[in-house]
Amino acid sequence: MAKVKLSESKINKIKEICASFGNKPGEAINVLHKVQGEFGYLPAEVQEVIAQELNVSVAQIYGIVTFYSFFTMTPKGEFPISVCMGTACYVRGAEKVLDEFKRELKIGVGQTTPDGKFSLNCLRCVGACGLAPVVLIGEKVYGRLTPDGVKDILNEYRS
């Protein structure tokens, strides 16, 4: 329906994923899951193709994407930051750490910096409560973090 700006190969990849789920409307969540795994996020153009393949309206696909917090329409940064907001981390000041990241990066939760370097998200408990508060950057774990330490950590990645 829309003016699709995707490359032919990307469109074919999406079609392939839809077909692997039998193009069934009931598999929309699984399809979106897999496509996001492939592309990292679900831009409008991608949703258009999925809607067409599954024969449901784009509005309904968009409804699913916006309902589940797992799905995202903004691309993740090169270094995705996840701040644990589980109970242990929270009581040990995770919120202040999160605020510091927001201030330093000038973005909100679920957003990505304009240069595409960092994206900021929250998660619930990574099973390292002994290190609370915990922050993940990519695969790397940072424990016992204080707001003062945020800038130094970011500088590791900024250069």
């Binding site: 329906m1 829309a2 003016k3 700006k5 409008a44 153009e45 949703q47 258009e48 449901v56 309206s57 784009v58 509005a59 309904q60 696909i61 968009y62 409804g63 916006t66 309902f67």
Partner: protein, 590 residues
Amino acid sequence: MEKINIIIDNKPLQVEKGQTVLKAARAAGIDIPTLCYYELDGVKLENRPGGCRMCVVEIEGRKNLAPACATEVAEGMVIHTCSLRVVNARRTVLELILSDHPADCLICPKSGKCELQDLAQRLGVREIPYQGEQSTYRKDMSPAIIRDVDKCVMCRRCETVCNVWQTVGALSAVNRGFQAVVAPAFEQDLAKSPCTMCGQCVMACPVGALSEVDLTRQVITAISDPKKTVVVQTAPAVRVALGEEFGMEPGSIVTGQMASALRRIGFDYIFDTDFAADLTIMEEGTELLTRIDKFTKGDKNVKLPILTSCCPGWVNFFETNYPDMLDVPSTAKSPQQMFGAVAKNYLANKLGIKREDMVVVSIMPCVAKKFESQREEFKENGNPDVDYSLTTRELAELIRQFNIDFKTLPVEDFDNPLGESTGAAVIFGATGGVIEAATRTAYELFTGKKLEKVDFTELRGLEGVREATVDFNGTPIKIGIAHGLSNARKLLDEVKKGNSGFHAIEVMACPGGCIGGAGQPFHHGNFDIIRKRQEAIYREDAGKPIRKSHENPYIQTLYKEWLGAPCGEISHHLLHTHYFDKSKHIEIEG
């Protein structure tokens, strides 16, 4: 059907197995309040997400209160619809819904017809004990429909009609929690979505979250301007529904009172869209016969079946969804637009006034007609053939503003020459009517014989898809009829496969045709109202002295004085149109 025994409010009842508590109660005359529930039983459409919790009842032996709309009756069930526990819960639910609802009832377009307002009154809510955040969403204005989702109660009735009945897919619930709204994809404007402007979402909306664009003020301004000649036309379905706005029984025929009300409001000429409906039959019927003639002579390029093109929601639908079939529908303009073209060319000339000094107002049972009237191809140097298209409801609003006591109005006639019409034009208002009207004329033109029985009852009814074969003196003509765009889609997909064998197909977007149009008085899901309007349409037809379009003397004069022949040179320029591929009009921003 198996019967089971239940007790509702101490009343022992024998009810059908498999139905809901809500239906069993309503059948027994017990009215459980509902909000998200919406049913059009005549077309088997139901919305019951069970989300609003207004209809909760107490069932003995069950711990939680149960939503009556989503709970099946069971043998021996004992139900209380108004125990203290239920009454308190229902009130709390309503207070919570109201806690995030704007309190601008005084100027809300739905005021007086709002189901939420009714509930607040019925349940005696005088204050809202919960204070919290209020949603602030932008207002979305399209040429026909306004979305004001701060008023949305997430009943999802609009979503169901848009997706199930129309298969348009413009609306869906998006986001979650407090941010949840019903919106088009990517929360774009409705005008950029696949919306057909049919307006059935407006009809279904229990509150003021969806409403039509109100043009009454512009019409009053035009009437007040002494330099303007203001001409009004009224669609067939309006006359069988307008009375409801003034407390009259559904199915009351108020053609004469409507004409006199329009005269009292101050319109200069009171004309009838029915006249243009007769004209549509002349053009569309001739087009059909030409195509059949070419087909029987072996022309491979001729497009059959011909599809009717009166319904603007349907036109928007095929332009968006079937761009490869744009040469299949009839090129005849809708009656509204034919009237506009005749008024601003033929009539303006006859009256010796300039096109710019004439204002054409239409009264339509329709919301999409507002969009149609503003299409660029229906304008000349920016001046539209139809300036303002009002709904039946807006006309009622005007009548009230002008302090007219509708019920005691004398019965008056339309003006001439554009006010005379036949029974064939009247039935345009009901599903199957356009094709029946076309059949009456096409039969006589095709066979050269007089049609003795003008009633083609096989074309009438409320089934979503209907098929009938009419015998044109030895030649079988296969006709298809669909109301609801989901049903149109079924027929269109058959046609696309190429073996449907139809000669002509009529499509109307709204349930029952225009009588169930989105511009009509709100029926709140009471389908009996639509049935009564339908009966009234055929009653009005039966009472007309002339019942075939081509016998309308003023139509004959129009061809003699001005048009020449149907589908001739002038017709081609003024009464026919063409369609556009709108499948790519949805652009993604950013």
